[in-house]
Amino acid sequence: MPQLGFEDIQKEGISLKDDNLVSTGVIMTVGIVGEVKGNVVYCLSLEDAKAIASTMMMGMPVEEFDEMAQSAVSELANMLTANAATFFSEMGITVDISTPTLIYGSNVSIKMSANQVLCVKVSANGIPFETNIAING
C-alpha cells in the first residue's frame, strides 16, 4: 500500500468468524479461482471509503462517494488481492482473481462460501478497514 499514499499500515487484529458477516457502508468482493477457490470481501464505512479515495487521489477532497471515488477504492481492492495472488504464486500456489464488485448499503448481511472466514482488521493512515478471506481448498 505505500505506493498508494499510505505510509502507516497497521494490522489491528485477526479473528475467525463464521460465514455470515454484517456490515454497513462499502463492501467489495473479489473472486479467487485456481488451486484454491474463494472470495475476499473488503468492508469499510462510507466515510472511511471517501477518506481512502481522497488519499489515493493525492489528497483531493472527496465529498460524495461518486464514480471516481468508487473506482479508486475498487482499484485498491483489486491491487491488494492481486498482491496476495502474487504471494500465493511465490509459494507455488497458482491463483487468479476476478474483477471487484462494489456495493454499499446498511446492515448488509454477507454470506461467504466457506465455513470459516479469516477477518483481518487493518488500518491505513489511521483509516480502518476489514479484509474477510474465505478460501476453500
Binding site: 463492501i27 462494489l102 448488509v108
Partner: protein, 287 residues
Amino acid sequence: MEGTKVVIVDDSPFSIAYIRGILERHGLNVVGEAGTLEAVKEVIKDKMPQLVTMDMTLPGTDGLECTRAVHEINKDIKVIVVSSMMDDEIVKAAKDNKVSAYVQKPIDEDNLMAAISRVMDSDELYQELSDKNIAIFKESLLDGINKMAKSLITYQDEYTCQREFESKGLTIIIGIIGKFSGRMLIDLSMKTAHEITAAIMRKETNTNDEVIAVIGELANIISGNACSVINRMNKAFGLRVAPPTIMHGESVCITSPGFYTTSVIGESEFGEILLNVGFQRGDDHWM
C-alpha cells in the same frame, strides 16, 4: 490467427516437423526455424515473425536466454514455450521473461492451438465474448429455472448498465476468471427468492438461510453452465467461476464496475429476476 508468421525454435528435427505440421494445418505461416542462440537472432531479424514457439532445453543456451534475445530485437513478438520441462519454478522464470504461454510436450494439438489463439486473437476473442455472453447467460438462467423450479422466464429488452442501481433485496455475485475476467450478478427481491426456493424444494416455508443457500447454488449452477458453453465455443476463453458471495440489506446499491455490463430483467411467476453480466478487456491473463 490465420497467416500469422511463426518461427519454431527447437533442437529436435522431429519436434520442428511435428509443430510445423500442426501450425500449417491451421493456416499459420511457418517462416523459419532455429536451434541455437545465434540462429535465433539471425532468423528473427530476418523474418520478423509475430509469434515464436520456444523449446526450453537447447544446446549451449536455453529458452529463456533465447526469449530475451527475441524481445531485444522486437518486444512485440509473442513467445510461447513448448517444452517437456514444466514445473513451478521454470514456469515462473518463463513469466518473468515475458513468455506469453506455456505448453508442455508431448504436444496436444488442441492445447497448442488454444494457447496460440489466446495469445494472438485477444481482440477477436473479446468481441466474440461481448457479442454472445448475455444470450448464453440468459439461456442458462432460463434452463436453470425451467429444470429446477419447473417454470418459465420471459425476458425484457437488454440494456447496457453504466450506472449504479438499487438492489431489490438479494444480490448474488459470482466472479469469473479466464482469458478475460468479469462477473455475473443476479438480483431479486426476498419474496421472489422465497417463492423460487419453495418451487425448487417443493415446500412452502423456508428460512432465510435455506433461501440463501438455494439461490446461491442456483446462481453457481447458472454461471458454471454458461461458462462451460462459452468455453466449448472456444477453448481459448478458459473461464472458471469463483464461489458465490450473497448479500442482502437495507437500501443496497450496486455500483458500475468501470467496464460495460449488460443487464436484462427476466419475468417469472415468482417475480422479476435481474441478470447482469460483463467482462473486462484488461490485461491478458497468463494461463
